[in-house]
Amino acid sequence: MSTRYAVITFPGSNGEHDALKAVEMGLGQPVEAVWYKETSLERFDFLLLPGGFSYGDYLRPGAIARFAPIMSAVEKFAAAGGPVLGICNGFQVLTEAGLLPGALLRNQELEFRCNWLHVRTETTRTPWTSGLDLGQVLHLPIAHGDGRYFADPELVDELIANDQIVFRYSTATGERDSTLNPNGSVDDIAGVSNRAGNVVGLMPHPERAYDPLIGGDDGLRILSSVLKAGAAAISG
């Protein structure tokens, strides 16, 4: 009935409260945190995998979380076409789980990067970007040490051909400028989707940009896109 967002919370997640607040306060939508030991997601329409350091980033970021009990339900939800958004560590979990292509490596300069920047919307075919305009620039914060997106040249070609690159780092006016790429990601990629488009991962934090009071509310454009996508699907 009602639109419900789930925020999948692992031991070591730290962005779940930002995500809950963003959906509650920014969108006025019902949202619940779902603990990693749960096994069902049937009551939810949209999944958010928040940022943080699940399992202490041990072995590799996301490597252990991908085997958490809730992940079978996440995989099932994704396979059925449900919209899934992985943010930062959530992006890392989704790549480790094989739900998104590529991998995330230690930042090129080996520094933890924590600042606001701009990304350009590269596709509107995903439910998380269908409410945006192609080329629309968003002002979002990043906070990560392992955000260097890696895909080998063949995979990059495939991502381009299949319209799976969702966001690229850019200037405030939407030009590509590799000097503004904060982590050495291949092709300035900040976010990608799976082949179908329903699973999206990105390193910037839309859930930390939900009110001008905290620096901006561009994140709501992403988080609310699924509402429009859902409405379109229902009316269509």
């Binding site: 072995l59 590799r60 490597a63 252990i64 085997f67 790549t95 480790e96 590529g102 991998a103 490596l105 230690r106 930042n107 090129q108 300069e109 080996l110 890696f150 080998d152 050495g184």
Partner: protein, 100 residues
């Protein structure tokens, strides 16, 4: 060296080495190389940083253990999108000592 119980499994020591694939840029390795150069070790051309893991486990024979460890590497210990791995398997010495 009694072999009265054929189903007795042996203890094994497995050493797993994981490193980034050659095509993947390794800034940690480059930083370590630069550090060695600063210390005067200019003969160092390249450094690749990686992970070392030591597993103690029981198994029936070497090939069975190798097959299991390969699975572990593929599923968890390495991310084969970016990393390659190798491992060495040998009987645990402490086990031989206690058995003898």
């Amino acid at each position: 060296m009694s072999a009265t119980d054929q189903r007795t499994s042996t203890l094994w020591l497995v050493e797993v080495f994981v490193s980034l694939k050659p095509a993947v840029n390794d800034p940690q390795g480059l930083a370590i190389r630069d550090g060695l150069h600063m210390l005067g070790y200019h003969e160092v051309d390249d450094v690749r940083a990686g992970k070392y893991m030591q597993l103690e486990l029981s198994g029936e024979d070497q090939s069975q253990v190798e097959a299991r460890v390969q699975e572990m590497c593929e599923k968890l210990l390495a991310n084969t999108v970016i990393e390659s791995y190798r491992f060495d398997v040998r009987p645990s010495i402490s086990d031989e000592e206690t058995a003898g």
